[in-house]
């Protein structure tokens, strides 16, 4: 496997605030890599630096083998970016938006029409290609921007909160399109999100980032295992605790009233045995740790679910401009 992105001590300060704290990151080609964290965690600044939109305070990185400091044009040619906020021109049609992108990103004339067609096919917008973007729904507009990000055949696609502000059904659709694109176009996807379900659903690996530092980095499933097995929640009037505590696959037991919380390795395989030893049980529930639990475990706080104020790149640009 080749490396798509690599950073060395990548750091960004805004005044006194350390937005990204000496980040060392390595992302392989073909991955869907997620930067997961709350607003202001630094995930967005990281993305902006990799996309050469923001200059690092110190450290550097390579994107597709190009140095982000010394070869920003090459980096920009080799990546596609989908902004959090709409960035398509709503006075133009979908087709025209793609055409302009092709012109600006130097897609050869002979390829343009065919690339536009292909991009439209990927996101099922052929029928609406010649409608003004003004008449698109939020989800369609996001799809158009996904397609646009792919127009110049980038090897890495940066997605900034790809489903922020979309309804659940549309989010499902966008996820499916992203998965499909990764499969058919063989691009590496690097995305930011503060949705646990999104990271869980899409990403091969997730970096949990908080206060500019990576708290944990692994496959979502591994991260969840690290939190410690699965959780069994029981209600029993007179539970027999001693035999349970002796079992080596039971990691912890806690009791509050008639409710028992057990952290158990491979809970479903051992559920029968546990229930047999514990006596009369009124109800039982097996609960897999979610990335939410993981985030809580590594950062000590819940991730905020509310949306950010404005787009990430814009916020960064504004902050940078104010200095």
């Amino acid at each position: 496997m080749t490396t798509a992105v690599e950073t060395e001590e990548l750091r960004k300060e805004f005044g006194d605030l350390v937005a990204v704290d000496s980040l060392d990151l390595k992302i392989e080609e073909g991955e869907i890599f997620g930067l997961l964290g709350p607003n202001g965690a630094g995930k967005t600044t990281t993305l902006s630096m990799l996309a050469t939109l923001v200059k690092p305070t110190s450290g550097t990185g390579r994107v597709n083998g190009y140095d982000i400091l010394k070869q920003p044009d090459e980096v920009r040619h080799s990546i596609g970016i989908v902004f959090q906020d709409p960035s398509s021109d709503d006075i133009l049609t979908g087709w025209e938006n793609l055409y302009l992108h092709a012109l600006m990103f130097g897609v050869a004339k002979v390829e343009r029409k065919q690339r536009i067609q292909h991009a439209l096919d990927l996101v099922d917008l052929q029928d609406r290609a010649h409608d003004l973007v003004k008449k698109y729904s939020g989800g369609m507009r996001r799809r158009l921007e996904l397609a646009r990000g792919l127009m110049h055949n980038p090897r890495i696609l940066f997605l900034d909160e790809p489903t922020l502000g979309l309804d659940p059904q549309t989010r499902e659709h966008i996820w499916a399109y992203i998965e499909n694109i990764v499969k058919s176009e063989r691009v590496t996807v690097i995305m930011t999100t503060h949705y646990m379900d999104e990271a869980d659903r899409l990403c091969n690996r997730v970096a949990i980032i908080d206060h500019g530092k990576i708290g944990a980095l692994d496959k979502p499933s591994v991260l969840k295992t690290k939190v410690g097995g699965e959780i069994i929640r029981l209600r029993a009037r007179t539970p027999k605790l001693e035999p349970i505590k002796e079992l080596d696959y039971v990691l912890s037991v806690s009791q509050s009233g008639s409710t028992l919380l057990l952290t158990v390795r491979d809970a479903s395989a051992h559920l029968q045995e546990i229930l047999g030893k514990i006596g009369d049980v009124e109800s039982v529930e097996v609960h897999t740790p979610t990335l939410n639990d993981v985030f809580l475990y590594y950062t000590g706080r819940e991730i905020r679910e509310e949306s950010g104020e404005g787009g990430v790149f814009e916020r960064i640009a504004q902050r940078a401009g104010r200095r």
Binding site: F83, L92, M104, G106, A320
Partner: protein, 248 residues
């Protein structure tokens, strides 16, 4: 590589927007027409200047005003554009900032000149006589003026954080530039303080040049007017390019 195509893309976009937002184009012509018809017509019923009716006298000035308003507003619009629109996407394209500036500037000039053409056409109704040379030179003046003022708008837009200061710019820049330019009065007999400000206003030279071309009466030689205006435009284009290079 690809800079020329990028330039074309930016220009193409502005042209598309222009042709689709017809209501905006029409409304931008309403104000100058009101000036000529109401102000010029009303005052013209009592006043004539430089041997022509007042309505005709202010025509070159109003022509310059049409260019002025559409040019500066076009440039200023990138304050919004940067935040909510397509321009974000332009800024991440692998294009040099010089190209982006040039595309935006020429796009704005095209808009302004199309509106200027409509005004020139209206001049026929006022009895202004054109020949080919006059028309070409008038266009040259309008183009230089537009390029200077689109650049000025882009400079302000590139350096402005939010659209809140917008009204300030209209009151402190656009209106003074118009009123001091001699668009509405002859500049040969002004009180000293007014003359100084008028001579400092770059739009004055566009108005005087156009008046010389269209009505045959200018205070300065037409070539000198053009030279001063061109120098101002060059300065604005230079600062504009520099502003865009700094733009994130």
């Amino acid at each position: 590589m690809g800079e020329l195509e990028g330039f074309y893309a930016l220009w193409y976009r502005e042209l598309k927007v222009f042709t689709r937002e017809r209501s905006r184009v029409v409304s931008s012509l309403i104000t100058p027409l009101l000036w000529i018809i109401v102000f010029g017509g009303g005052l013209g019923s009592a006043v004539s200047l430089g041997g022509v009716n007042y309505q005709v006298f202010i025509f070159p000035g109003i022509l310059a005003m049409t260019i002025m308003f559409s040019s500066i507003f076009f440039g200023l619009y990138i304050v919004w554009d940067r935040k909510i629109d397509f321009f974000k996407e332009v800024l991440v394209a692998p294009l040099s900032r010089v190209t982006i500036f040039a595309g935006k500037m020429v796009g704005g000039c095209t808009d302004a000149l199309l509106q200027g053409s409509a005004m020139l056409l209206f001049g026929v109704a006022l009895g202004v006589k054109y020949n080919l040379l006059v028309l070409l030179l008038s266009f040259l003046f309008l183009f230089v003026l537009a390029s200077a003022l689109v650049s000025l708008g882009l400079i302000i837009g590139a350096n402005m954080e939010s659209p809140e200061g917008f009204q300030l710019i209209v009151s402190f820049l656009i209106f003074p530039m118009f009123f001091f330019s001699g668009a509405l009065f002859p500049i040969d007999n002004l009180p000293h303080y007014l003359l100084v400000v008028t001579m400092l206003d770059p739009v004055t030279y566009a108005v005087d040049g156009l008046r010389g071309l269209l009505l045959g009466s200018s205070q300065l030689p037409i070539a000198l007017n053009l030279a001063i205006l061109t120098a101002f435009a060059a300065l604005m284009v230079g600062i504009g390019t520099w502003s865009f290079k700094r733009l994130k």
